[in-house]
Amino acid sequence: MTSPIIYLTRHVQAFLGALGRLLRRPLGSLLTLLAIAVALALPASLWLLVKNVQLATGDTGDAIEISVYFRPGAALEKAEQLAASARNRAEAGTVTVISADAALEEFRAYSGFGAALDSLQGNPLPHVITVKPKPDYANPRDVASVQKYLRAWPEVDSVQVDGEWVRRLSAILDLMRKMLGASVGLLALGVLVVIGNAIRLEIGVCRAEIEVTKLVGGSNAFVRRPFLYEGFFLGLLGGLLATGITVILVVALAEPVSRVSALYGGRYVLSGLDLLEAAALIGLSALLGVIGAWFGAARLISKIEPKD
């Protein structure tokens, strides 16, 4: 049983050995790092695009409102009953009942047709309920579910969702998110292949050393360890470089974006990766490095056996 101190010492040795190996061939390491960085900077940039579109269009949840129009002659109690029922639903944020009388008074006050209304016999306006979904439920699927529920009441004449543009924007953002997911998957696979291949080449160079190490009793795990650290370093440094590329991109685009925003009377400032997002990118990259190195090294190392 290996003591923790010896185990840790062996890891420190492998860690330093891997770092030394990368530094011994700076050009090759740099090219591999650039390939990883570019592959990771692409989905990171797409993520920033999605994030900035969301920020620029504000909280779209607040812009969605469902208006429920009752049939003429429907009792106000029924409208209040439906409002109470709607409030119990998880999706509902604010539910307001506007009685036909209140609507008429409001129309009379603000429309400028007060005198004309006096000539009408009775109130032509229906009772109305407005429902604003909670931000978490302001998506097409949940809004459609509420809409269906409200329309099912017999006293309801029609249900209208205000904010069609929000739905369209949401659909576009959804598409962009899906593209982001696909690009993350594909480019992560690319990073795995780049790192795995770099490690395989490195193992080829170190074949004689591996054979001697195994001949004196080195296990596969012992031989593999420095290569896993090498993959970790390639991933970590590639992730850092990718973060740097996105920072440069944000800095370069900040001024033109502000100018466009000003033309529309806004003061939008382009948002870059925050600390958590940058850490996630670097962490994911380092993890991909270790996984890529494992795939590149594990089988190959176990197949290398010492010769006499």
Partner: protein, 225 residues
């Protein structure tokens, strides 16, 4: 300590390298394994170091039957052996110290013990002052001594040497042999594969003669005169 029991070895190309080979080497013995090139010496060594498995028969080293030992157990098995090669098998991009320390690095040896034992091994072969030098800068004889220091640094119970004096002149070969004798004196079992018959006669130890894959003589304890 080392036992071959009716061992046959046939390679995938059909060549039979060993045919019904049996011999035993007791703990603390120094034995020469002799025979012309292609006689089967290398196959014997390969079977002992788990580079090959017997086609039939059993090979027992340090009490372990190598024919049934799983591959995953081979690192631990090899750590109990010291192996010296004719071509030294040194890592030329590492200093002498690192080469000698390698068997200790792959085992569970503490850092301070590694340092002590590497220096002691280098001292034994007279290369302590060259610990920071690359093996490429050493003479062939010195490289061979680095190889021996690496083989003994982990204090193996069995030392196997494949033509350890093959590239050395007679004076250096004698020096190397004296080193092996010293390890034998402290209880290490030493098996030296060689075709240097002058050296075999000079050191007067048991000789196992192999020819055409069969043991010709020396399977039982007899000394060369």
């Amino acid at each position: 300590m080392i036992r071959f029991d009716h061992v046959f070895k046939r390679y995938p190309n059909g060549r039979e390298a060993l045919h019904d080979v049996s011999f035993e080497i007791r703990a603390g013995e120094l034995v020469f394994l002799t025979g012309r090139s292609g006689a089967g010496k290398s196959s014997v060594l390969k079977l002992m170091t788990l580079l090959e498995r017997p086609t039939r028969g059993t090979v027992t080293v340090n009490g372990q039957d190598t024919s049934t030992l799983p591959m995953r157990a081979s690192p631990a098995f090899r750590r109990r052996l010291g192996i010296v090669f004719q071509d030294h098998q040194l890592l030329m991009d590492r200093p002498v110290y690192d080469n000698v320390a390698l068997p200790l690095m792959v085992s569970d040896t503490r850092f301070r013990d590694i340092d002590k034992r590497v220096r002691a091994a280098l001292d034994q072969v007279g290369l302590l002052e060259k610990e920071r030098v690359s093996p490429a800068e050493l003479s062939v004889g010195e490289q061979q001594r680095v190889g021996i220091a690496r083989a003994v640094v982990a204090r193996p119970t069995v030392l196997i040497a494949d033509e350890p004096t093959g590239n050395l002149d007679h004076g250096l070969a004698r020096e190397v042999m004296q080193l092996f004798r010293r390890f034998q004196d402290v209880g290490v079992t030493v098996l030296i594969a060689t075709h240097d018959m002058a050296l075999v006669r000079e050191f007067s130890q048991r000789e196992i003669l192999i020819d055409d894959g069969r043991v010709f003589s020396g399977a039982q304890g007899e000394r060369t005169s």
